[in-house]
C-alpha cells in the first residue's frame, strides 16, 4: 500500500468541506484514475465542475500515471488567474 497527499484549492476545497490537505491510502500499483474515481464517489459535488485536472508533484498528469508513495496530488478546478 502507498499513502499519497492530496491538496485542494478554490471551489474544490469548498466541495471537500474545507479540507485543504488530506491523505489517502491506495494499493501499491494504483493509477491516478483510481484516486479520481474514489474522490468522485466520496464527493459527488466534484462532478458539477466544468473541468477537473490533476497534478502529480506540481506537474499536470494523465490519469494513467501510476502513483508513488508520498506523491502530492493536486486537484485543479478550472483556473482563473490573470
Amino acid at each position: 500500500m502507498i499513502t499519497v497527499k492530496i491538496v485542494t484549492f478554490g471551489i474544490v476545497r469548498d466541495m471537500l468541506d474545507g479540507q485543504s490537505t488530506l491523505y489517502e491510502t491506495l494499493p501499491a500499483d494504483a493509477r491516478l484514475e483510481a484516486l479520481s474515481s474514489l474522490l468522485a464517489e466520496r464527493y459527488p459535488a466534484l462532478r458539477h465542475l466544468n473541468a477537473l485536472r490533476f497534478a502529480v508533484n506540481a506537474q499536470y498528469a494523465n490519469k494513467d500515471v501510476i502513483l508513488q508513495q508520498n506523491d502530492e496530488i493536486a486537484l485543479i478546478p478550472p483556473v482563473s488567474g490573470g
Binding site: V7, F9, G10, I11, D14, H48, L49, N50, A55, A58, Q59, Y60, A74, I76, P77, P78, V79, S80, G81, G82
Partner: protein, 144 residues
Amino acid sequence: MVKRVAMIDVQLTDSILDPAVATAFVGGSQAGGTVVFVGTVRDQTKGKKVVRLEFEAYAPMAILEMEKIAKACKELFQVQKVCIHHRTGILGIGDVPVVIAVSSAHRQAAFEGCQYAIDMLKKEVPIWKKEVFEDGEVWVTALP
C-alpha cells in the same frame, strides 16, 4: 568571464505589482519594443457590482507553469526578455493582479509573445479567483 543576464523573471507575490518594475526588467539597449499587459480588477462582471477579488494559487506549481510559459514564449517568438508577475490575496477594484512584459528587437514579436503569455497563463497556471459581490461570491469559471 561570461556575463550572464537573466532573461526571464517570474514572481508570485502578495505584494502590490508595479508595471514599471516589469517594464524595466525587460527593457535595455537591445530591445526596440516592449509590450506590457496589465490586468486590472474591474468594478463589475456581467453587470453585477464586484466588491473585491480573492486570488489563491498552488504556489510551487504556479511558479513552475509561469516559468514554462516564459521559456516557451522565448522559444516560439523572437523575443528577448519575458517578465510574468502575478499577485495573490485580496484585491480591490482597480488593483493589478497580473503584469506581463515582453521585449524584442522588433515589435511584432513582442506583441505576439505578450499575448501568448497572458493567454497561456489564463489556461494553465493554477491560480483561482473568487469574485465577491454584495450578496454572494463565486469561484470564476468553475461551474456551468
